[in-house]
Symmetry: C2
Subunit: 493 residues, 2 copies
C-alpha cells in the first residue's frame, strides 16, 4: 500500500469549504417550514462547530436587522457582512442565482453552494440559467468564487459537526462521501449512526456546474483522517473529466479503497438521472471498465453502505489475510444454509484437526452438533459462554484459519430465562477482548426479531460495542457474504 | 391453472398427524428445562386445539400417576393410555426408540415422531439404531405406525394451534411447509408472524427414516387451504424417491406454486448437511434440473420467506398481469437507484402520457420532481395525500400499467411535525381501499429507521393492515426486486 506524500490537506483549495470560518445563508427566513430553514435549523440544533465555530450570517433584505430564530442577525446583502466570506448557500429562486454569484465574486467569497434547483434538470429555461453561471465563472477565470451545485446540499464535516440533515446527527469516522444526489448524502448521515459507518467529510454536488468528483477525490485522498472514499455518481460531465477521473481512481485506489455506486446504469435509471441532476448518464460498460481494479463498484445503496462499513472497520491495519474461515452457528438448518451462502463467495472451510474436534466435543456434547467446520453448536448456541469458548478453541488450535464468523440467536438467548439480561454488553466486550489478542478477524451475525423492542435495544448496544472493537457485524449472513465477496475480489485474496 | 380433483384431504392417511385426537409425549418430565418440555410448555402456553382440543398424555414410568405441570396425568406406557393413539412423540434416548416403535405398533398408534437425535447423523452406533427401526417398519409392512424423523420436531397446524415453538405463535394462513430441519421449521413459525407469512401446515422430518417429502407434497396438494407450498430440503433418500419427487413437483406446480430452498448445494454446505440430517446431499446441477419450471428455487432463507410471502398474498386471484410498472419515489437519488435495481429484473417502465404528466405537474409543482416514470415526487413524499393522489392519477390515466410500486420515507413522514401521528393506519387503509377498486397490483416499500421505536411500531401497524388488503410490502427495494424476479421468471411473464 502506498502512502500519500506532499501537499497537506489544510493547504488544499477545498479546505475552507469543509472548515469554513463563516456560513452565509442567502434567502434566510424566520419561517421554520421553508426549505432554507433546514440549514438554519440544523445549525441551531446540533453542536455545530464545537471546537471552531463558524459564524452564521442569514441574508435577506426583507428581514434586515432582525434576528432569525432569535440567534443570528439578518443582513441585507453580502457586502454588508463584516468579514471575508468562506461559504455562501443560495436558497433563492434560480433566476436570481447568477446575480448572487456576481456578488460573491465581488466580495471574493470562496464558495457558493447552490441549494436552489430549477437549472439544467428542468429544461430550456433552467439551461439558460446554467449557461449564465458558467459564463460568469469563465469570466472570473475560476479564480475567485467556486461553485458547488446547483441542486444540492453542500458540505458535511463531522469534525466540526457541519451537517444539513435535521433528522440525524453524524457518527464521526473515517469514511468520506462524494454524492451527486443530496438525498443520498442525507441518507448517508442517517445511516452513519445506525450502521456504525463513521463519516468524516461529505459533499453533495448536484449538477456539477463547476466543482466535480475529481476535485473532491483529490481532497479526500490527501486527508489523513479519510480511510475509505465513497462515490455516488450519476454522470460524468465530458470525456476530459472522465479521463481525469479514471487516472485519479487508479492512483488513489493504491492508497485507500474507493466504493462506487453508479446511478443510472440502466436505461430507465438514466432517464431518472436526467431529471434528477440534469445530465445524461453514460453507458454502463464504459463505467465498468473505468471502475475495474480501481474501485469497488456495487449495485445498491445497501451494498454501498455495507462494504463501506466493512472497509472502515478493517482498513488499514486489520485487512483480511486469506479466505480461510471457520463458521460457528447454532442449528443444523442454519449451518447448512449459511455454509452454502459463504461457499458461494469462495470462502474456504478447512476441516478442523482431530485435536480441535475432540476439544470441541468435550465442550459441546456431540448430539445435534457438528465439529468439522462449519461448527454447529446446536442448542449450546443459547449459552454465550459456549460460543466464546468455542471461539477461543479455534483461535488457539487452528493456525491456518484467519477468519471466524460467529452466528448468535440473539432473540432466543434473550428469550430464555437463563439470566442473560445484560447479555449484549458482556458478550460484546468478551468478544472484543478475544479479538484484541488475536490476529484473526472476527465477524458476528446476531439473528434477531426485528419487532421485539428488547432485542432491538440489546442489538443496538451489541453493535455499538462490537464496532468500537472493530468487529464487523451484519444483520444477515447474506449481507456479510455480499460485502466479503466485493472485498475479496477487490483485494484479489 | 389446474384444479385438484378426487381425494379429500381429510381422507388422506396423514390427516391424523395434523389433526390428532391425542398426543402422547414419551419421556415427559416435570422439569421445565428438559428438551421434552418444549412440547409440553408449548401445548400449555398456547391456545392449542381451541376448536378441537387433542388430549395430551405424558408418559414416563418415573412419574406414573403424577401430574405434569399440574395439567396432565402421567402414564407408565402406551398400553395404559385409555384411547386409541394418533400421535406419539419420542423424547427418549436413541437406544430405546426401537422398543418404543414396537410398542407403538402393538397398540396401533398412527404416528411416531422421533424428536430424539443420535441416529444416522452421528455415525456407526446411530446407524445401527436407524437400521433397527427400518427393519421393524418393514416387518410391519408399513401398515401400522408410520414414522416422522428421527431428529425433528414433527407437525405444525395453525388451524388447531399445533405448534412446537415456545417463543412464537403461528400466524395462520395459506403457506404449508415441508422442512428437513427442525430449526428451519421453528424459524418459519417465528417469521410467519413477523413477515405476515400466514402458515397453514408445517412438518419437520429430520432424517426421513420413513415418511418423506413425497408423502407431504401429496397431502399439501390436496389441501384446499394450502395455496403455496414451501420445501426446505437437504437430501433425497435414493433415486426412486427422487424420480417420484420430480413427478410430484411437475404435477403439483400446475395447481399451486412450490418454493424450494435446497440446503447443501455447495461442498461445505453438503458436509454440514451430513452431520445435520445424516444423508449425503446430491449434486447441485441435478437438483436445478429437477426444480426447473417445476418450482421456484431460491438461494437463502430470506429469499425463501420473501417469495413465499409474496405468493401467499397474490395467489390465486391477484397474480401479476405483466411487467409494466410505474414507480413512485421521493427523491432523485432514490429514484435513480431504484430504477436501476428494478430495470435489472426487466420491469418495464413505459413513459407516462402527456396528459398524465400534466396532471402530475399540477399536483406536484415541478421543481425537483420527475414525471416520466419513474415518478420522483421529491419533497412531496413527506405528504401522504400527495402519494395517494399520485397513485390515483396513475390508476385512472394509465390503462397499460399493471403494477404500481410506492416508496415512502416512513421515518421522515413521522419525524416531521405535520400531524401524521396516526399515519400508518390512515395511509394503509386508504391505500387498501384504492387497491380494492383497481385491477392493478400495488406494492409498498416503507423506508425506515430500524432503531427508532416509534417508526418500528408504526411500520408494524402499516404492514399488518397492508397484508390484510393483500398489498405486498418489503423492507427494501432489493428484496422486492429479488422476489419479483423469481416470480416473473417462474410465471414466464
Amino acid at each position: 500500500m502506498k502512502k500519500n506524500e506532499g501537499q497537506k490537506v489544510s493547504e488544499h483549495f477545498l479546505y475552507p469549504l469543509f472548515f469554513p470560518r463563516n456560513i452565509v445563508v442567502v434567502g434566510a427566513s424566520p419561517n421554520p417550514n421553508m426549505g432554507v430553514s433546514l440549514y438554519l435549523n440544523t445549525y441551531k440544533n446540533y453542536g455545530y462547530g464545537i471546537e471552531r465555530k463558524p459564524e452564521i450570517y442569514p441574508v435577506n433584505p426583507k428581514y434586515e436587522g432582525k434576528k432569525i430564530f432569535g440567534l443570528w442577525k439578518c443582513y441585507k446583502d453580502l457586502k454588508s457582512i463584516p468579514e471575508p466570506i468562506d461559504y455562501v448557500i443560495s436558497c433563492i429562486n434560480a433566476k436570481y442565482v447568477s446575480d448572487l454569484l456576481r456578488e460573491c465574486i465581488e466580495v471574493d467569497a470562496r464558495f457558493l453552494i447552490i441549494y436552489t434547483s430549477g437549472f439544467s434538470e428542468v429544461g430550456k429555461r433552467g439551461m439558460s440559467y446554467t449557461n449564465e453561471i458558467k459564463e460568469i465563472l469563465e469570466e472570473s477565470n475560476y479564480e475567485s468564487t467556486r461553485v458547488v451545485g446547483p441542486n444540492c446540499f453542500g458540505a458535511i464535516n463531522s469534525q466540526i459537526d457541519l451537517n444539513f440533515n435535521q433528522f440525524a446527527e453524524i457518527h464521526p469516522g473515517s469514511f468520506s462521501l462524494f454524492s451527486q444526489s443530496g438525498g443520498f448524502a442525507n441518507r448517508t448521515v442517517e445511516i452513519s449512526k445506525k450502521r456504525g459507518l463513521g463519516l468524516n467529510f461529505g459533499i453533495s454536488v448536484g449538477n456539477m456546474i463547476d466543482l466535480d468528483m475529481n476535485d473532491f477525490l483529490d481532497f479526500f485522498s490527501l486527508d489523513l483522517k479519510t480511510n475509505v472514499i465513497g462515490l455516488y455518481l450519476e454522470t460524468v460531465k465530458n470525456k476530459s473529466v472522465g479521463r481525469k477521473f479514471y487516472k485519479k481512481l487508479k492512483s488513489i485506489s493504491e492508497i485507500k479503497p474507493i466504493v462506487v455506486l453508479k446511478g443510472g446504469k440502466t436505461k430507465i435509471g438514466a432517464r431518472s438521472a436526467v431529471s434528477h441532476t440534469g445530465a445524461i448518464a453514460g453507458q454502463a460498460r464504459i463505467y465498468e471498465a473505468v471502475f475495474k481494479n480501481n474501485a469497488i463498484s456495487v449495485n445498491s445503496s445497501i451494498e454501498f453502505y455495507d462494504i463501506a462499513y466493512l472497509l472502515t472497520l478493517l482498513f488499514p491495519d486489520k485487512l483480511l489475510k486469506s479466505r480461510k474461515t471457520c463458521l460457528i452457528v447454532p442449528g443444523g438448518g442454519n449451518t447448512v444454509e449459511m455454509s452454502d451462502i459463504l461457499s458461494n463467495i469462495s470462502l474456504e472451510f478447512i476441516e478442523l484437526s482431530e485435536k480441535t474436534q475432540r476439544k470441541l466435543s468435550n465442550l459441546l456434547y456431540d448430539v445435534n452438533t457438528g465439529f468439522e467446520n462449519p461448527i454447529d453448536v446446536g442448542a449450546y448456541g443459547i449459552l454465550p459462554e459456549m460460543l466464546l469458548n468455542t471461539t477461543k478453541i479455534i483461535i488457539k488450535e487452528e493456525q491456518e484459519i484467519d477468519n471466524i464468523i460467529i452466528v448468535i440467536q440473539l432473540t432466543r438467548i434473550l428469550g430464555l430465562a437463563l439470566g442473560y439480561d445484560k447479555f449484549a454488553g458482556t458478550f460484546a466486550r468478551s468478544l472484543g477482548r478475544i479479538s484484541r489478542k488475536t490476529k484473526k478477524n472476527l465477524f458476528l451475525i446476531p439473528m434477531l426479531d426485528q419487532y421485539n423492542p428488547k432485542t432491538i435495544a440489546e442489538n443496538k448496544k451489541l453493535k455499538s460495542i462490537l464496532n468500537k472493537y472493530r468487529i464487523p457485524n451484519f444483520p444477515t449472513i447474506d449481507r456479510l457474504a455480499k460485502s466479503l465477496e466485493y472485498y475479496l475480489n477487490f483485494y484479489k485474496l
